[in-house]
Subunit: 346 residues, 2 copies
Amino acid sequence: MSTALNERSRKILEAIIEDHIASAEPVGSRAITRRHGLGLSPATVRNVMSDLEEMGYLAAPHTSAGRIPTEKGYRFYIDSLLRIRALSPQQKERIRRYYRRRGLRADELLREAGRVLSNLSHYTGIVMAPQFTTSVFRHIEFVRLSQGRILVIFVAENGLVQNKIIESGEDLNQHDLEQMHNYLNRTYAGLSLAEVKKRLLREMSQDKAQYDRLLGRSMRLFQAALKGEESRELFIEGFSRMLEQPEFSDLERMKRLFKAFEQKSLLVEFLDKCQNSQGVQIFIGSETDYRDIEGCSLITASYSSAGGTIGTLGVIGPTRMAYSQVIPIVDYTAQLMSQLLESDLE
Amino acid sequence: MSTALNERSRKILEAIIEDHIASAEPVGSRAITRRHGLGLSPATVRNVMSDLEEMGYLAAPHTSAGRIPTEKGYRFYIDSLLRIRALSPQQKERIRRYYRRRGLRADELLREAGRVLSNLSHYTGIVMAPQFTTSVFRHIEFVRLSQGRILVIFVAENGLVQNKIIESGEDLNQHDLEQMHNYLNRTYAGLSLAEVKKRLLREMSQDKAQYDRLLGRSMRLFQAALKGEESRELFIEGFSRMLEQPEFSDLERMKRLFKAFEQKSLLVEFLDKCQNSQGVQIFIGSETDYRDIEGCSLITASYSSAGGTIGTLGVIGPTRMAYSQVIPIVDYTAQLMSQLLESDLE
DNA sequence: GTTAGCACTCCCGTGGATTGAGTGCTAATC
DNA sequence: GATTAGCACTCAATCCACGGGAGTGCTAAC
């Protein structure tokens, strides 16, 4: 009952977890000896399993069922047992092919990534789009919609487009608006939006007087367009895959999970917290600390552009997930998104 | 056994359907006499029910259960028994209040409509966005993304924004692009996109030679931006409401339904066919001729702008739907969308 | 330390038996 | 002739007992 696991226990734990991932059923001692023939009898395996349960890596649904891994079991499996094979060039090529279609807008690209993640993993794909404020500003455009209502269109360097309606106190005609956005484009293109905000603030207060009416108004409009909380877009694709998982044949549970997905905001918040980490992150069950998706694991990776991470994508599935297959897919997809979003720059 | 229904049969049919809508259970003869006390004994009601079954308005799941309405029964109910009360001014005001938030973009407005439809009806709300080609052209903008890749942004009179990436053979700098879209905006604003297409074609062939290089290129770019199939956006909101309906406690069925929603394209196709009809349309069960949503009914209405219908919205729920409540909500929401999308014009 | 053997536990499927809601029919009643 | 009370019948759903099977834990032998 030493707390460290010896080679044999690890082998058995691994075998149990892998069998359970494949079958979704509790795994018994005989099944292990049959399928993994470690040169041990069922009785021996039973003793080891009993120890593993004692240590919290396994649990028994009831006396005469086999064992299923606990979250601690999965955690150990992922940290110590799992070896991830990098994708072969062929596999990478196969994934890349999904994105080959030309003329895909950035948002379409991200949604497509969600679909691909779902299809390849057989779970649900999630992609959080970049926060606009972290992007590099490329272009702004004002279009007068009606008395006092102006449509603002931003374009970021990575090709993401966002639009917004602002209400300006005074009515501005389209010609003035054009002059205004021309000025803004000349002045601020190439800066990050955060920087734009800062400069805007400085310039407006510092030398306010020096600017003529038009420029002052341009800046005020820009500022109005930039302010306000910004909800990040989240693409969730392939939820129906979840319906295929036996663990969600419980309707009540399904319903909760679905509502969580429909809500999105909590998931966005969570992914936002993941965003600053490098590489693939794995959250098993309650490790997400997010009750509605109980029984699920989350594999995420962030994608980046121009140095910083800008968004997060991943796969959400039951804790009993085929981690070894999903992890490299998520990893590579994140790399790919970084490349593809970058490629709009020359 | 005459084929026409007398007053008494109609009353009983109505009572059965309304009870069934409320309870989702087969309705028995005693329940009718108890809850609707028509001054008849259960035995009499049984005789009538038997006739109604004979005529195809009711069906019995098995010998000793009550009766449930058939699609024919619902159809008769809707066509002949149901009287719809128009919404009271208070109810209308309550609905309008949902849209009072300012600065809502057209697409946000439509999605919000889906949510509101879902919340008020307790079923799933669907909103098909206007087809861009039928909109009135207000503004176009070209933004150079990279070597040969141009982002095109369209704005329609109703405030809808669409963007697209086109690949131009030659590399154009941003300054040229601006001149081009300025020209296009001056020339074509206010026309419907269909008309723009036509004029573009005519002008390009007729007096091709007369145009200078820039104008010719502008038109070619515009044309490139307009071509290609256009997938209509469809907002489906509140699917989780379906999970609450007892008829979908069958997992297999749920799954089919969900996949149908995830697919969207068939639903778009179907709604597209509804679009040219006036007023509220109701499709009961297999009347949609769309197998995946079997057991569901669809209540739709089209919203319009500048005379023509531009999109369709509605509610999808089980055939056992609270028609009398949902119909006026769908009707009024469609009217409201017409108004709200119009209000961008002065 | 490992393993064979065995008693024990518990889930699950099967097959009556029972219950209850509801029907259809018949004969009596209005 | 329409309506209704009464009654036999049907069928799904529920409960319960039972047996089989999978799996465990313990003990004693290797």
